[in-house]
Symmetry: C2
Subunit: 229 residues, 2 copies
DNA sequence: CGCTTAATTGATGTTAATCAAGAGGCGTGG
DNA sequence: CCACGCCTCTTGATTAACATCAATTAAGCG
């Protein structure tokens, strides 16, 4: 199926970056490459966790359903991010593709064995999970205290910084992986409020909206300032 | 200093529960017991992380300072919880005692060695960190969408369940480890709003407020219902 | 007992949700 | 190619919730 991990697009970003070429060769035989179309679900909350995976291309969402049946997005996954809960019983959230995605998938049991065999990979996963926890807590502060404008600006700032790190630099038009409704679900706002804030930022000159889901960041500095307000 | 880990109050709840008596004896010699008074700071955000620790008694807060200088609480720590960021450069948050606390402290480097030597402990830490991440994401949903009443009720429900697990059961008066102001910082509300919600819950018959920081939960079921709204 | 800080209660203002309608894309079929 | 329906996004008017401002009461503490 896959030729080799050596040429993987996330070779130096994913968990496997902790492994030597020899170790990688072993792991390689355990994983399979999978493709998901936008909207397809990889993991459903409550399912016994079967899969662990590395996201290679595309963006996914980590979603929960509130007690009153509304959808909420609690996190996003970008290329290089790890998906799954080794050693855990059941999944706490849905994992759904926001764009077409490519991922490198393992059976949970196999992946747990791999973690045991390669402790440096387990350490890296621990560090990443702690970093993810810190990021979730940053958002916790934003969600608790920031007004609508700061939330939307902060989301855009986060998104662009994250995509920049992946090499998609430049002030060219970028296709948002989320609809207005999904942004609302992520930020705990309504579609209308998100839309109004986009308009406000466009009028202020921070961004352009060439139509559809495309967006151009004109003034990243102003965006940061709006996110801090 | 300390006699033995065998009799530790959190022997079967802390990370060390992953260790055999023999292994514990080794770790025991590396740790020292520390006492902090209410209000004292164990870790300051930005500090190079020096210590790792297990909380034995008392409650601590994980606090951040927002860009506009306001304090925000992003999490609470209870007996048995682990404190620290092994393998990480610097601390992301302040760790402060809300009550007098007792903890079992290690130098970071020593603790990292211990994790390497006892992989089952590292695995347990990984699982706990992932569980903590899930809990943070639950709060993320609450903070984003729930109204003031649900936030305060949810906080009380969480707190009582957490303390119940530690053996402090019963409908007797419990001393809140947080002031109204700290609850406000945790929930992203103002002191006034928190106070009003407490009054509402008292009038509704869910709780009693015998004065000071004491509180009696009269109707845990009603509390849960209020938290879901 | 008096001082200081924390908590409660009340009156008013602001922000974002809600309700409602219109505009822009996009695919389908005539 | 245009007409139509469907969906997403945008914009406007109204309402409800919480913050803010202000005052009072209660609790800790020397």
């Amino acid at each position: 199926m896959r030729k080799t991990c050596e040429t993987c697009v996330v070779r130096d970003r994913a968990l496997c970056s902790a492994l030597s070429p020899d170790q990688l060769a072993v792991l390689s035989s355990l994983g399979t490459q999978r493709h998901l179309k936008r909207g397809e679900t990889l993991v459903r909350a409550g399912d016994e966790t079967i899969v662990c995976a590395n996201l290679q291309t595309g963006v996914m969402k980590i979603a929960a359903t509130t007690s009153d049946g509304e959808a909420a997005i609690v996190g996003l996954l970008y290329p290089g991010d790890f998906i799954g809960r080794p050693f855990a019983g059941s999944a706490g959230h849905d994992i759904v593709a926001l764009t077409d995605v490519m991922l490198c998938s393992f059976s949970r049991v196999r992946f747990e064995e791999a973690l045991r065999d390669h402790q440096q990979m387990e350490s890296l996963l621990l560090q990443r999970t702690m970093a993810e926890l810190d990021r979730a807590r940053e958002w916790l502060v934003k969600m608790g205290r920031a007004n609508a404008g700061a939330r939307v600006a902060g989301f855009l700032d986060d998104l662009t910084r994250r995509l920049d790190m992946l090499g998609c630099t430049g002030p060219q038009a970028l296709e948002l992986p989320l609809s207005r409704g999904e942004i609302a679900e992520l930020l705990g706002l309504t579609i209308e409020t998100v839309s109004r804030q986009f308009t406000r930022m466009r009028v202020a000159g921070a961004i352009e909206l060439p139509g559809g889901r495309r967006i151009i960041v004109r003034d990243a500095q102003m965006l940061k300032a709006m996110a801090a307000a």
